[in-house]
Amino acid sequence: MLHTINKSPFQTNSLESCIAHAKEGSTVLLIEDGVYAAMKDTKVSAMLREAMSRFTICALEPDLKLRGVADKVMDGVKLVDYAGFVDLACDNDKVQSWL
């Protein structure tokens, strides 16, 4: 199952709820303001680092670039482009959007 998060982890608890409810082995894709969660040295870095042991964490690269934070992404976060987003949506049986 693919989980997408489009809200800043500092503004809502979408990231927290997602990783608390997603099944091990799932893919979590950060998009829009959700990509801020992928940055290193933040207040939520430890939460994301822990989540990496159970999920594949991806972030939409065009959204990282737009926000000027593409060079501050944590190691272990997989960057995907729009075509990669489509592939993830097609390869997974369901998509849950944590709005």
């Binding site: 489009n6 809200k7 800043s8 500092f10 503004q11 829009e32 303001d33 801020y36 940055m39 290193k40 040295d41 933040t42 207040k43 870095s45 690269e61 065009p62 959204d63 670039k65 737009l66 926000r67 000027g68 934070v69 593409a70 060079d71 501050k72 482009d81």
Partner: protein, 121 residues
């Protein structure tokens, strides 16, 4: 002139995800024509508005961050950034596109109290 008022714009939202940041910038630029005492505060996710290196070439959004550099030309020179907000997001002053003054929450509180008008975005 005795009719100059102190206006503070409080920016707390990340750019692009919502339209608040762009709307705030537009109101600031319109307001600048009235030659008031203007200050801008960036706190919480609002600090992301000033992140260097915003690049819209791979997306359909417009990168409006260069406009923050134009504020100086409109005599909008009081730009304050909440130090705690910046640090919580793994950013430093060097990551910002404009010169700002870092302020503690206490200092921002005092600045806020001095204002005639506070506008929130």
């Amino acid at each position: 002139m005795s009719d100059i008022k102190k206006f503070m714009y409080v920016n707390r939202k990340a750019p692009y995800g919502t339209v608040y940041a762009l709307e705030s910038l537009e109101v600031v630029l319109i307001g600048a024509a009235f030659e008031q005492d203007v200050s801008l505060v960036f706190m919480d996710d609002g600090v992301y508005q000033l992140a260097k290196g915003q690049d819209s070439s791979a997306s359909d959004m417009k990168n409006f961050s260069p406009t923050y550099r134009a504020l100086e030309m409109y005599d909008v020179e009081k730009l304050y950034v909440a130090r705690e907000s910046l640090e919580a997001r793994g950013l430093t002053e060097a990551d910002l596109i404009v010169d700002v003054e870092l302020k503690s929450a206490d200092e921002i509180r005092d600045l806020m109290e001095e204002q005639d008008v506070v506008l929130s975005f």
